[in-house]
């Protein structure tokens, strides 16, 4: 059963006439890693912002567990249902890695010993306790991306969306990050959606989709790639 569905989704930026997304139909399921590939300007980031509730879908319908995202409380949706890993990390740079995770957990309403859970999460993505206490700006790109992943999964969302999660990372770190994302899907039964340019990343996903000229088309299933 699909956790997230897009039905006939179209999108045009205000003040323009060009449709960035055209009649998108797709259903995402738990336990799978989805890859969406496309050239720059193909509409990947727009699609991501609609799925993650950062923007509103005005044409067509996006449903999360059967509920229309456009009509639900999008703050709650972002805080509890969806985890987003940004290409530019989008962490609070003057806060520590630990504080970033703690704050995300507090916003989503997590209870209990938040600090120890945040440290556990960071450790699970390879961020040590010492690194966790450093300000984000004093961490490397790869370390920041790991913090971003930890933040995205800190509130145990059903869907994790990653925008070029390995874009700024070396090959070794790319592998580590991809493994983390695959573990989320295959072990924790999350739905992971990755927007990427990287062929290596694309080859690691369960389902690959292409976005071209605003149109989304199925490319391959993993076992056929």
């Amino acid at each position: 059963m699909s956790v997230l569905e897009l039905n006939d989704v179209c999108y045009t930026y205000a003040g323009t006439t060009k449709q960035v997304l055209r009649n998108i139909h797709i259903a995402f399921e738990n336990g799978k890693v989805y890859g969406i590939m496309g050239k720059s300007g193909a509409g990947k980031s727009t699609l991501l912002s609609l799925i993650s509730g950062l923007d509103i879908c005005r044409e067509g319908r996006i449903t999360f567990q059967g509920q229309d995202v456009a009509t639900c409380n999008r703050d709650d949706y972002r805080a509890r249902k969806i985890g987003v890993i940004f290409q530019g990390y989008n962490l609070l740079t003057n806060a520590t890695a630990l504080e970033n995770i703690e704050l995300a957990m507090q916003i989503s309403g997590c209870k209990g010993n938040i600090k120890s859970r945040a440290l556990e999460l960071l450790a699970s993505v390879g961020v040590t306790k010492e690194m966790a206490k450093r300000k984000v700006l004093k961490l490397s790109g790869g370390e920041q991306q790991r913090v971003g992943i930890a933040r995205a999964i800190s509130h145990d969302p059903d869907v994790v969306i990653a925008d070029e999660p390995t874009g700024n990372l070396d090959h070794e770190t790319q592998d580590v990050i991809m493994n983390e994302l695959k573990k989320l899907a295959h072990e924790q039964k999350k739905c992971v959606i990755i927007v990427t340019h990287a062929r290596k990343v694309a080859s690691d996903v369960d389902e690959l989709w292409g976005l071209n000229g605003g149109k989304l088309s199925f490319i391959k299933h993993q076992n056929k790639m």
Partner: protein, 465 residues
């Protein structure tokens, strides 16, 4: 709760920006404290003065109206009218004083050897049996009547003090000085005979109810070279108002009576004036409060209050502008933070509260420090301002710009001008300062809050990235 924790942590994360903001807010609060405290103290001084002196009313001839009217002869306010005017619902109290020259008979008065030769023959009758045949005598004393239970300010300040007997509270009683009593071996219970200065002089008998001692000299210094008995203050005889009204002496001289009316509320002046006109007060009379006296005493304080009010407004307006600019300038770095927090699902309202908390924490610290600084600085600032205003007022007075209004107030003891104010911070001043601080906190977080409410997170993050 986490919003509050986040706000506190954020203060430490953005030290540079917050120190700059705190410095500005501290400056604004400290200056506001000075201005508000001086203003409040001045206001309470002015209110106190108004309640004590500002509501006293004088009824004087309006010479401007007289000059333009076709009145051929001026009619003075009669004693009956003066008393009738006192029957008003607008008045808190009224008091009457009268000073009448008279001739004291059969006994010696002080300095009588300096008086011109007078032959005052004729029978002395009681006030019940006035004799129309009595000869006109030269005045040799002053009869003073008062409706006050404490007689006069001199008895309150104990320049004059009752040494035996009691105040003349009953009709027909009088009070004399020790000097006059000693000269004539008079004591409480003895009687005096007085003759008025009317065209048909009458003689009245008064019983001595009290004797007072007088610590002042016989004459005011400028009159010492002419020591005449009617000017010698030890020849003054005090009676109550009823005694003098019963005699009818005042009917001969309407102007001998001074009436002081005190309004319940200074704002009732116009209504009281209307009532007096209805009771027959001629149009060419004006009803005024002691504006000149008020100005001479409270004027500098009022000016100081006015300066601090203007200063406060300028400071707050300028401060609000500077804070808004600082806040807007710092929004560039805050924009990213807003975008991240919104992307994480933090509600607009919570981010706004968090920003407001940050401003409130900074402002609260500044408020405490500012209250201390302001409280210390307020007194010297007030002293300097008041000193300057007194100088200006004195210069204006010297150049004749400020003239004392005559009439009833010229008879009153002049109030000393307020030469110093003791600055004190009251609850209302603290409340005003807290409101100012709250306003500053709101302004300093306003641009951030406006930004939060206007933009969607994606737009902010896309712009930044």
């Amino acid at each position: 709760m986490y919003i509050f924790t986040h706000a506190i942590k954020n203060l430490g994360r953005n030290k540079g920006r917050n120190i700059m903001m705190a410095f500005m807010i501290l400056l604004l609060i400290a200056t506001s404290v000075v201005a508000i405290v001086i203003n409040r103290t001045s206001a309470s001084i002015i209110d106190d003065y108004k309640s004590r002196f500002g509501s006293k009313v004088a009824i004087d001839l309006d010479y401007d109206k007289l000059a333009t009217s076709s009145v051929s002869s001026v009619s003075y306010i009669t004693t009956k009218q003066s008393i009738d005017f006192a029957e008003s619902e607008y008045l808190l109290e009224s008091s009457f004083d009268a000073k009448i020259s008279a001739h004291i008979k059969d006994i010696h008065v002080l300095d009588e050897e300096n008086a011109p030769d007078t032959s005052t023959s004729g029978a002395f009758g009681s006030n019940q049996n006035p004799s129309p045949t009595e000869e006109i005598a030269m005045p040799n004393m002053t009869l003073i009547a008062s409706s006050r239970k404490d007689i006069s300010d001199e008895f309150v300040s104990e320049t004059r003090k009752l040494t035996s007997g009691k105040y003349p509270i009953n009709t027909g009683e009088c009070m004399i000085s020790e000097q006059l009593a000693t000269l004539n071996k008079l004591k409480v219970g003895d009687s005096l005979k007085l003759q008025d200065m009317g065209q048909n002089p009458k003689t009245y008998t008064l019983k001595i109810s009290g004797i007072f001692t007088d610590h002042a000299s016989d004459y005011p210094s400028e009159e010492e070279q002419f020591p005449l008995p009617w000017n010698n203050r030890h020849n003054e005889v005090f009676v109550n108002m009823d005694t003098i009204l019963d005699t009818g002496i005042l009917d001969n001289d309407n102007r001998a009576l001074t009436a002081i009316y005190t309004l319940k509320n200074p704002s009732d002046l116009k209504a009281f004036q209307k009532e007096l006109k209805q009771k027959g007060l001629p149009e060419y009379y004006k009803v005024t409060t002691d504006e000149a006296g008020y100005q001479s005493v409270v004027g500098p304080v009022e000016e100081m209050s006015s300066i601090t009010s203007t200063f406060l407004i300028v400071i707050l307006v300028m401060g609000a502008i500077i804070l808004s600019v600082l806040s807007t300038m710092s929004i560039r770095e805050r924009k990213y933070e807003i975008g991240v927090l919104r992307a994480m699902g933090m509600r607009k309202s919570k981010i706004s509260i968090s920003f407001l908390f940050e401003s409130l924490i900074i402002t609260s610290i500044c408020l405490l420090v500012g209250l201390g600084i302001g409280n210390v600085v307020a007194q010297p600032v007030a002293d300097t301002l008041l000193e300057k205003q007194i100088e200006i007022a004195n210069e204006a007075q010297m150049s004749g710009e400020m003239q004392q209004v005559g009439g009833a107030f010229s008879e009153q003891e002049e109030q000393p001008a307020l030469s110093q104010v003791h600055i004190a911070m009251d609850e209302q001043a603290i409340l005003y300062i807290m409101l100012v601080a709250l306003g500053l906190a709101t302004i300093s977080s306003l641009s951030g809050i406006m930004y939060i409410t206007r933009y969607e997170p994606m737009k902010i993050l896309v712009e930044r990235n």
